[in-house]
Structure formats: C-alpha cells, structure tokens
Point group: C2
Chain length 459, copies 2
Amino acid sequence: MAHQISLTELRELIKAGKNQTILSFISANHPVEVAELILQLSPEEAWHVLKQTDPHLSAEIFSHFDREYQIDMVDVLTRNEAAKLISEMPPDDRASLFKRMPEEKKEIVLPALARAEREDVRRLTSYAEETAGAVMTSDYATLSPIMTISQAIEHLREVAPDTETIYYAYVLGAHRKLNGFVSLKDLILARRDARVEQIMHGDVISARVDDDQEDVARRIQKYDLLALPVINKNGALVGIITHDDAIDIITQEHTEDMEKFMAISGSHADAMYMKTPVWEQFKNRFPWVIALAVLGLVSGFIVQRFEGLLVQFTILAAFMPMLADTGGNTGSQSATLVVRALALKEISPKDILRILAKEFQVAVMLAFLLGAIAFVRVMFFGDGTSIPDSFSLLRIGFAISIALGLQVITATLIGAILPLGAARMKWDPAIVASPALTTIVDITGLIIYFMTVKLLLDI
Amino acid sequence: MAHQISLTELRELIKAGKNQTILSFISANHPVEVAELILQLSPEEAWHVLKQTDPHLSAEIFSHFDREYQIDMVDVLTRNEAAKLISEMPPDDRASLFKRMPEEKKEIVLPALARAEREDVRRLTSYAEETAGAVMTSDYATLSPIMTISQAIEHLREVAPDTETIYYAYVLGAHRKLNGFVSLKDLILARRDARVEQIMHGDVISARVDDDQEDVARRIQKYDLLALPVINKNGALVGIITHDDAIDIITQEHTEDMEKFMAISGSHADAMYMKTPVWEQFKNRFPWVIALAVLGLVSGFIVQRFEGLLVQFTILAAFMPMLADTGGNTGSQSATLVVRALALKEISPKDILRILAKEFQVAVMLAFLLGAIAFVRVMFFGDGTSIPDSFSLLRIGFAISIALGLQVITATLIGAILPLGAARMKWDPAIVASPALTTIVDITGLIIYFMTVKLLLDI
C-alpha cells in the first residue's frame, strides 16, 4: 500500500513520457493514495497522469481531490476532456463540484455534458446546502416488486459497475414510490423463484430531501445502515446517502462545532491549515476576536465605574483574573454539556427547569469549593496589601468568597440558559458557547463582584 | 417506524401477561426502537418483553441497550438465562459488556457460556482499551483461495445468519494468514467457475491489533470501507472492524476532544446528561475547575506585585479584563487550528518553525487591530479617570495598546506551541487547549502588561 514511487520520480516519468510505467504505478496503488500523491503535482502534470488510465478510474481518482484542486484542474482541460472526466464522477461528488465552480466555468462545462447528466447535476445542485438533498447521490439500484429473486440478482449484476452500492436495493411502485427495500444478503438467502415483494422490508427507514444532513447522518449511525433512501414529499425515491458520506458529514459537523466553540468563522470543509494563506487565516479569525474585544470593553466601563472601590481596596484587583477565569470555566462546562445533550436530542428547550435545577445543584457545590479557595488565599497572602484600618482581612475575605461563589452560580446558569435560548430561537446552540460566553460572564461577574463587595463591606 | 405502543400501554400488556400482543409489537418495530422503549422499563419488565422473542432477536435488542442497563438486567436473570442471552450477542458488544461487568458477576456468567464463546470473550477482552483489538469483532466471513466462485457464494449463504457482514469476505492462507479479500459484488460479477484467488484483491488495507482505534476508524473513512480486517504481528486475521463501529469511534473521540477543550474529565462514552446524577457531574467537573482556579491564583500574585502601579493608574485595571479575554480568544484560535491539523496528521511537531512563522504573521495583524481599538477606547473614554498630572492620556493609551498587542502575539504563539509540545511529548494535544491555555496566557499577559506599561511610562 505504500507509494511505490516518489513525487520526484513521478515528475521524471512525466517529463520522460514513460506512460507505461505511470500506468502500472496507478494500477498498483489505491485510488485514494494515487490522488494524494498527484495532488502535489501541477494540474497539467496531474492531467498527464490521469490521461493514462481508463475514464472510470481517472474520474474516481479525480473525485478524491479537494474541490479547489478539481477546479484548478478543469482549467487546464479542453471542454470535451472536462466533460468526459466529470460525466464519469459519482453524481454526488459531481454536483458538489458544480456548486463550487465559478459561474462562467460552469456555463462552459455544463452544456458539454450529456443531457441525462446535465439534468442530474441541475437536480442535485437545486437543494439547499446541508440538507439530505444536497448530499445524496443518484446512483442507486432499484427493483420492481414483481421480479423474481433470480431476476433481481441478475439486474443487480448488470447495474453494479455504475452503482454506488448494490448491497441495498430499493423496491419502487408506480411513480417511483418507495415501497420497500431488500439487501443483497436477503436476496442471496432467498429462494430463487420467490418474488421481491415477498421478501422485501416494507417499513423503510428513510429521509426527506429537506431533512438536515446531520440528522440524516445520525439516523444512518443509529440504525447501522449502509445507505439511507431519500424521498420527496410524494414519497418518491430521489436519491440515497451512503455510510461513507455519513462519516464525512459527522466529521464536518464536528469541525464546525469546534470552530464555533473556539470563535473561528468561515467554512472549513476542505480547508487545510498549511494551505490556507495567512491573509485567509486572518479574515477567518479577526471578526470574532474584534467582536468579543468590543463586547469586552463593557467590562472596562464597569471597572471604571467602581474605580473608587479599587483604589480603596487594591486586593480586589488581585481577584479579578480568578473571577473571570472561574466564571468562564464553569460556564463553559455547563454550556458544553447542554450543547451536546441538545445535539444528541437528549434534552430540548422545554426541559429548561429540570436542567437549571441540576446545574444549580452542581454550581452550589462548585461555589463552596472555589469560595473556600479564595478565602484561604485572602487570609494567607492578603497581609501585604493596604486595606483601610476600619476593615478586617477576615471581612474582606468573606466578601470576596461570597462574590466568587455567586459568580460561579450565575456563570453556570448562564452557560446552561444561553444554548437553550439559542435552540428555542432555532439558532445553533454552539454559537453562544465558549468565547462569547466567557465575555458575557466576565461582565456579569464584575457587576456581581463589585456589588456584593460594596454591600457586604457596607460602603 | 413510530412506536405503535406507548410505555404505559406496554406496561399494561406486561402486567396482563398479553404475550402475543407484546410479540407482535416487537416484530413490527425496528430492534433499535424496541430497545429505546424497553430501556424505560424496569429490568424485570424488560426481561419479560425480551423473553417473548427468539434468542437471536432478544440478543440483538439487548445489544442496543447501554452497558449499564445491560449489567442491571443481567442481575435479574438466572445464570442460564444470562448465558443464553449473552452467547447470542455480537462478539464485540459481548466483549465490551464483560469489560464493564463487576468481577464477581463475570465469574458467575462466564463459566456458563459454551467453551468457544468463553474463549472468544477472553481473547477480545485481552486487548488494551482504545486499540483496534479492543473494538474488533470475531464474526467475519472467510474463504479459501482455491474455492470456486459458486462454492464461495454458497459458503457465504451458509454463514450469513451468524456473520456481521458477508459483503466483504477475507481470503486466508496457512495459519490464517490474510492473503486477500473479495467483496460480494466481486463474487456476483465473476464467472461461477473461476477461483477465489483469481479475483481477490491481494493488497488489503488492514490494521494491526495494537493500532489506535481512532487511526483505524479514520482509515475506514479515508478508503470508504465497509469493514477493515485486523491482523496480529504474524499477519494472521484475528478480527474485523465494521463501518458502523467506525462512526461510533469517531463520535466518541469527538466527544472526548470537546470535553478536553471544555475542561470536563471522566469517560462519557455511554454517559447521558439527564441520567448522570448531580454528584457524578460534580465529580467530573470540579477537578479541572479547581486546578485552573489554583493556577489562576498566580495571576492574583502578579496583580498584587504591581499594586502600586494600579493605585497610581486605575485605568490599567479597566483594561485587565479585555487583556485576559483577548489573550484567551486569540490563543484558543491558534491552539484549535493546530490541534485539529495535528489530529488530521496534516502537520507534525517538526513543522514548528513554519507554524510559528504563520501564526506570528496572523498575530501581528490581529495585534494592530486590537491595539487600535484599545487606543481609541483610552482616548475617548479615559477622560474621567484620575491619572497623575505628569502623564498625558496619549502616552498612557499608547502604552496600553502596545501591551495589548504584545499580549495578542505571545498568546497566539503560546496557543500554537503548547499543543505542538504536548504532541512531541506524546501527550494528547487537546488537553492543553482552551481553559488551561486561557489561564496560562492570563498570567503571561499580566506580566507583559505591567512590565510594558512600566517601561513605556518610565516609572
């Protein structure tokens, strides 16, 4: 499975025009690995390599490139070469390529495709992003309910080369209505003269074209499916989503969640760290950082508002970082747990009272622990600081601990409420997690801190 | 697909002993859905339901329960009932159950299993957690290279009922050495009198028993496989890992990454938010929060060290929250990107210089922007604060902006260095992300802040 050839060697073969050797390298390796190596060549060199193989294999290797490289490569092909290559691609990859292609290039390539493929592209690209329709493929096997098992197996043999999977076949009635499905295992085990309708599973787990892609991927995961049929509002079969697409969707959603948690915007489905130029990185990262910094200015105003208190008790400034960090950490914890439980559909915004009750109890325990740490800290190391004579260190330590405890409880509850609120508004709960939350609980924390201390120290 | 029966109705059926109705409910629904409903019953009630079906189906439904409920249920069974149920489970689920079973219960159930199954459990539970060996199953189909295609298909028909998948079959030589594999599609398409060795793929993508489970799942994802064979150090086939296990492994790793990012410890493979008691939640959450709070005390000491400066310039306190938040946000961004690129094996610790060069450039751009915001903030809203007459607001604004800019640059670089360092030490890079990082850049940030301001204001 290791590359039997280095990039330099491959470049030399291309230069020397040793096409037979190139062809034998391609045949000896997995298309995924051939694609990985070729990706490092220029599009012209890559096309020289792909040209050596049959159209089916070259389209398969081409499908494993990232979309950007595919678009670069289409640029160096003639219109007919491009049409031939693209027409052999799996329909879902092909549709995804057309969606990312610049309009003017699309207008050149699309008319060169055969009519059936052109219409397939039009249909598959017509669904909204992130829906089942946008990720499904149209290469699936169908059977008629009145076929015998022998006929069905013979039919699957015939369509196998052009079909994404023959392990599941869908049984269609009039108007392509999805009546049932059979697995190839069912067919192999059945009597040869039985009819498909006698052995098919009538109660098919399916998705609607406008279902969210992550819900669909989770359904494939839940029921351990190889593929999930996608139907339109009339119950007609329009495509299937396969298990390998489900893994990719789940990985992609995870990446997006992680990025929302860490305040990076932009779509990174195909993005790679080293390949993304510095300027792109900056554009993806600055909006969040700036927005949060501007929001963070509010905490500056609050500190300014309580300037007098800080001048009198500089020890209060020493606890500001701990207050902010602790609020951020406890809030992030509850937000993370709630976001995940929402994503797994284990809880819904309706459960808000039960969730808050639970978070409140955890928060009170954490508040006692953290308050105690702060108290010890004040008593042991507060001696050096200048405090007005009329206040004892004990009283100040007590006030700071109470304030910190209240901050822990509020931050934890805010951490739970924000994602629930977002889910209620049909926004993505992950968007309000971590950095935005940290900045918000900084603000509430400072208010709680100064107010509590003022109140308890009676100033 | 909807439950055709409510929990209350099912309870009534159990109480009334209407076993025929229970059986028809089970047959009419998908095992996953039956399992979901039964999970809400008591283990005794659940067993009453399962008892109505054939052993194969009841074991399948039982396999869909979470491990804790499985253990609770084994408690209410006689030794023979338990052995019968467990022996019908898929081998990987069975091994996973035994791994989580208390020692004393294991010693009761294990001897009641048939010898072959007992040894299978012993073997599958002997591999280290999170390795390929620990997640593989032993129900796979094998063929001999000299079988004809007809014989091979006939053999797969025979083993189909007890095999996880017959869509991939592995071709074994002497000593179970993995020589190749064929898909059922290959077999269906081949001439009936050809030999398996003539059509098999010799260059099999496989895993070693001690490979990391995530690497293995990613391999299944990369090559779009239905299953991946696992071999021991002699090249003998010992198990397979299927596509549905790959999705579950990837989901589990996502969850663990997310939790590390958000400072929640504990293994949550089966944990559910609502089911986890408050006390458990507390135990999972407090160690991180406390550790970080203790670490955060260091920033308190730094602030105390510069108390004099704060008394003189209270405006400095107003920018402390923005300093901390901005450092945390920019540091988390670079850490997230580096952690992900490391996870995808796109970069390695060796690339540290190129990564730092890139992060440095992005950081400088961010530093200018954020410094400018801070400067504007000081100039426009700094009027109210008391500053010593010998210092102009302009000079203070300049000093604060420079300090903030330096904080952004250091935090970004620290955010990149920490995960790279962790990866170098073979630790999990995700562990140093977000909350730990935030606390560290708070500390470095305060030192930079006070030192810079002291230097630039010449005090």
